[in-house]
């Protein structure tokens, strides 16, 4: 075995991590090479120095501190439920519902006022009151509003102006 190759294998030689053939070859080379003998002593001393390093103790509370970094991940539902985005279909359904809730009364109010103007407030009130007589959920306040608006119009006043 030549010197360069032997020199490369010295580190594995001191760890006895070579094949038996290589171990024997290095042993033979060492007998003839004072340079490699010196190097192997230094490598052994270096290895011993590294092996003599103290073993640092884990800081107190290591497990608890680390757990505090882990815990939110261990209970993903609690953390994620309030901030998770809804499914697109759910989002569209909610949007349509909100839009309907806002526009339906506006359209209904407009239609009822047109009808009241058509048949005259007195007749409209009479008919509507009769139709709603058995309905406990009937919106009487709204009916009153429509009647007042229509009456104001009849005497030539703008109900929106009067409200201010």
């Amino acid at each position: 075995m030549n010197h360069a190759r032997a020199s490369r294998l010295l580190s594995a030689y001191i760890d006895e991590e070579l094949s038996p053939d290589e171990m024997a070859a290095i042993g033979g080379h060492l007998a003839d090479c004072p340079g490699c003998r010196a190097e192997i002593q230094e490598l052994r001393a270096t290895k011993r120095l590294l092996g003599s390093l103290g073993r640092p103790e884990m800081p107190p509370g290591f497990a608890a501190d680390t757990w505090s970094r882990v815990a939110p991940q261990a209970r993903p539902r609690l953390l994620w439920w309030p901030v998770r985005l809804p499914h697109p279909a759910t989002a569209i359904a909610v949007l349509v519902l909100v839009l309907a809730m806002v526009t339906a009364p506006a359209i209904r109010g407009h239609q009822v006022r047109l009808r009241a103007a058509e048949v005259g407030p007195d007749l409209f009130l009479q008919r509507t009151a009769r139709a709603q007589a058995g309905d406990p959920l009937a919106d009487r306040a709204f009916l009153g509003l429509v009647f007042t608006d229509a009456s104001l119009r009849l005497i030539g006043e703008d109900p929106r102006e009067a409200a201010r």
Binding site: E42, L43, A45, T46, K47, L49, L50, P56, F62, A74
Partner: protein, 193 residues
């Protein structure tokens, strides 16, 4: 072999499993982290991060895989990646004067004639060796820490780091050659006759 659930329902169970993981691997992981970082603050951070990652990916571990092998592989990859990203870890030189309000204070190395001084000298040797380790690239440092500080065999290191045994051999050779130069003054007292 231990098998952990991906998302265990009971958090008290989780905590017990987590504590068991730390009890099994904590000391060694912290010791490796300390030798890789060179200071307690960064070592604590890195070791904690190792457990956080390991815990989060435990569910992806195949039931037949070895927990220990997988765990140390996670740790080794994290340590090398992290340290490669933040090159130039702060290390204080022993010869560097200590800056104080009233001017620089020169460090004095004690004389090894009493037990206290021998202990202090041991601590200084420890720091010198640590400084020498810090001069190595993280992937080289990892091999030498696993081999010479932690005492793993080449094949175990190859498995932990996911590299061939030949690479372990050549990295260790390079590491020891570099350390041999740097530690020459410290070594004088302990060389073979």
């Amino acid at each position: 072999m231990t098998r952990f659930q991906e998302r265990p329902a009971d958090s008290r169970d989780d905590r017990a499993r987590f504590d068991a993981l730390v009890a099994t691997y904590g000391r060694r992981v912290y010791a490796i982290a300390y030798r890789m970082c060179g200071n307690a603050f960064d070592a604590n951070d890195l070791a904690q991060e190792a457990f956080v990652r390991a815990w989060r990916s435990l569910g992806r571990l195949r039931p037949d895989a070895s927990l220990e092998g997988w765990f140390y592989r996670t740790v080794a990859n994290l340590f090398i990646d992290t340290l490669r990203r933040r090159r130039g870890v702060r290390m204080q030189s022993l010869d560097e004067p200590i800056a104080t309000a009233s001017g620089d204070l020169a460090r004095e190395l004690p004389d090894p004639s009493s037990d206290v001084e021998r202990a202090v000298l041991g601590a200084i040797a420890d720091r010198r060796v640590q400084q020498a380790l810090m001069s190595l690239a993280p992937e080289i440092r990892m091999v030498v820490v696993l081999a010479d500080v932690e005492g793993y065999a080449y094949e175990e290191i190859a498995a932990i780091m996911g590299i061939p045994v030949g690479t372990v051999k050549s990295r260790l050779h390079r590491a020891r050659a570099a350390l041999r130069e740097r530690l020459a003054p410290l070594r004088e007292g302990i060389e073979d006759p």
